[in-house]
């Protein structure tokens, strides 16, 4: 079998400014599409609301990390200086939540930072080194100076002709179908 087959992934339209993308995104949302995404070289201010996205859930991971870090710090100090090998320093109590506070503080920040980074990765479903949208010949430009709207075939409202003409209507340039090759 030497034939390379492909499946249709989505319809994509490019835009040349943040304003065009922003306005078009509002229209796509209005039309009732659900499986679609905007691509841009910058985080476009206000686009989340325009697309109907809720607030990011990264803070939950940060909080979980921070709380874990704080108690890990406490556990370490209590276990090491009071439980496993009591250390007498200056005749003071083996453990108190006050004196090793810098340790809790730093571990809170450390674990919260890891929570934030990995939370961001998890919510963005990264790392994922291959994605059908990379097949678009102009995809690289979305990190440079192009803006793009992609409406997936999986969207219940998707229709080859209708979606393409809709994307042209909202101002999309070079509207095309992205095909994902299957070897």
């Amino acid at each position: 079998m030497s034939d390379i087959m492909d499946i249709k992934y989505a319809a994509a339209a490019t835009f040349s400014s943040a304003k065009e993308l922003y306005d078009a995104a509002g229209k796509v949302k209005e039309k009732g599409y659900s499986n679609w995404e905007c691509f841009s070289p910058i985080p476009v201010h206000g686009l989340d609301a325009q697309m109907g996205y809720a607030r990011s859930k990264v803070p939950r991971f940060t909080l979980a990390g921070g709380v874990t870090g704080f108690f890990t710090g406490m556990l370490i100090v209590w276990f090491m200086n009071e439980f496993d090998y009591p250390l007498i320093v200056g005749g003071k109590p083996y453990f108190s939540p006050i004196y090793p506070f810098p340790v809790f503080y730093e571990l809170t920040i450390l674990f919260a930072a890891f929570g934030t980074l990995f939370g961001m990765f998890f919510l963005n479903r990264l790392p994922r080194h291959n994605h059908p949208v990379f097949e678009h010949p102009d995809f690289g430009r979305t990190g440079d100076d192009k803006f793009m709207i992609v409406i997936e075939v999986e969207d219940p409202k998707y229709d080859d002709e209708e979606t393409v003409s809709f994307l042209q209507e909202v101002g999309g340039q070079s509207v095309q179908i992205i095909r994902e090759p299957i070897v």
């Binding site: 697309m51 200086n81 250390l87 690289g140």
Partner: protein
């Protein structure tokens, strides 16, 4: 009543002619997005310039001084350094605090200025964060080898060892282990996370296979999708929020190394804020030292504008004045506290056996930056660069003064002594500048020097409500 007043104000407004607010653009010459991408990526993608190789080889040679110094130290013993009774810390702590302090400006620019919505930070934050990471690596060398038997340095961490003894958490030096390792880790995370979208740009532009793999690996499959940006921005903001208390705590804890000890000249509550101000001061000095040549060599005048230089100079001026205030306040409290040992410690600082270091410190840290009050001086880039070098020198001497004047003459004259570094001390420290430069040159060559997505975000084209 209020309506009448409003009308009156309106009348006045009609008469006066308010001066228009001149907003200096952050990217000059109306550049577009493509120009920014080509400029920043071009630095990495172009052929390695000859000057880069010369600098790199020189830096490697200088770095070898640290390598040789450390090999000699490990094979002989920590006695090859000049520290001995009564100055048991010597250059090791001075160099450690110096390098850690340098790092602080990077975090300040990336985190604190982000929270304060200072848009001018965008073009300088990546290089400053790189500086932070590399400076912390240089700092780590000194306490690591100062422990003497470096192969036991892992005992600093709470890892089970054959002696079944754990670290002692009442010690500020142990807090330092946590503070500095957290600082290094979080700085790297923050630096890396900010680079992901730029790595993706480089990945998509790459033509050579190794570049595709290298940038592709670190870009983690970033897609510029709005869903990605949404989580990225939130994570960025949170990391900025976490790094701000972190950066303040790190130098606070470093200052605890001194302030918790019961020695005259060290045992003061002013130390944490004074150390943090000094750290930011020295860090901005180093940012200027590094970025002014980078700006000139790569032709980045449209991105690092006079406004950026002005702002950096003004922060240097503000923190330099704060440091000067702290010096004065230390003297005042030494007198006002009426403790004869404390009083002596400060007289000794300014007029004792290390008087020369004190006055180098004051002239470099307090007097020199006052020149930045003048616009003419801020606009004279070579002069700004020279002043920034003075700031670096002054801040090294500040740590030297604090650590050595107190230790060399504490309570009993019978235990006094004079400390001088050995040639090994000098070589090891000198070499860290080479080590730092090697890392910074590699950064310039292989990683995006500026956060393209952030620079583009502060350009007028980023506004979704404007016509462009």
């Amino acid at each position: 009543m209020s309506e009448v007043k409003e009308v009156e104000e309106h009348e006045i407004l009609k008469k006066v002619d308010p001066a228009p607010w001149k907003d200096v653009p952050l990217v000059l010459n109306n550049r577009d997005y493509k120009w920014v991408t080509d400029k920043v990526c071009g630095i990495v993608e172009s052929k390695t310039p000859t000057w880069w190789w010369w600098c790199f080889i020189t830096a490697l040679c200088i770095a070898s001084f640290t390598g040789m110094g450390l090999v000699y130290l490990v094979s002989t013993g920590v006695g090859v350094w000049g520290n001995n009774n009564p100055v048991n810390w010597g250059w090791a702590i001075v160099n450690f605090v110096f390098w850690i302090g340098i790092g602080h400006a990077g975090t300040l620019i990336s985190a604190v200025l982000c929270l304060l919505k200072q848009k001018w930070r965008t073009s300088i934050n990546r290089a400053s964060e790189a500086m932070t990471v590399f400076a912390v690596l240089c700092a780590g060398i000194f306490p690591l080898f100062h422990v003497g038997r470096v192969w036991f340095a892992w005992w600093l961490f709470p890892i089970p060892n054959a002696n079944a003894i754990w670290p002692q958490f009442r010690s500020p030096l142990e807090w330092d282990v946590f503070a500095v390792s957290t600082y290094a880790t979080v700085s790297i995370l923050f630096w890396y996370m900010g680079m992901i979208p730029d790595m993706a740009v480089l990945r998509d532009r790459a033509t050579e296979t190794w570049r595709k793999y290298f940038y592709g690996f670190f870009a983690m499959g970033w897609r510029n999708a709005n869903n990605h940006w949404r989580n990225f921005e939130m994570a960025y903001l949170l990391l900025a929020g976490l790094s701000t208390p972190l950066v303040l705590s790190v130098h606070t804890i470093v200052s605890f190394d001194f302030a918790v000890a019961n020695l005259p000249g060290w045992h003061t509550t002013i130390f944490p804020p004074y150390f943090v101000a000094g750290a930011i001061f020295s860090g901005f000095g180093m940012v200027l030292t590094l970025l002014l040549p980078v700006r000139a060599v790569f032709g980045l005048r449209d991105l690092i504008t006079q406004k950026h230089i002005d702002n950096m100079c003004m922060i240097t001026l503000a923190t330099g004045s704060l440091v000067g205030y702290a010096y004065a306040m230390e003297f005042f409290i030494a007198w006002y506290g009426a403790n004869s040992y404390e009083g002596f410690a400060f007289i000794n600082r300014a007029f004792g056996n290390y008087w020369w270091s004190y006055w180098i410190m004051v002239s470099c840290n307090v007097i020199c930056p006052q020149l930045f009050w003048f616009k003419k001086i801020r606009q004279n880039t070579p002069l700004v660069w020279i002043i920034s070098i003075f700031v670096n020198v002054g801040m090294w001497f500040e740590r030297f003064v604090i650590a050595n004047t107190t230790l060399s003459r504490d309570f009993l004259p019978s235990s006094w002594g004079y400390y001088s570094p050995t040639v090994v001390d000098i070589f090891t420290f000198f070499g860290t500048f080479g080590f730092f430069s090697v890392l910074f040159l590699l950064f310039l060559r292989f990683l995006p020097l500026m956060p393209m997505c952030e620079v583009k975000s502060v350009m007028p084209q980023a506004d979704p409500h404007a016509d462009h």
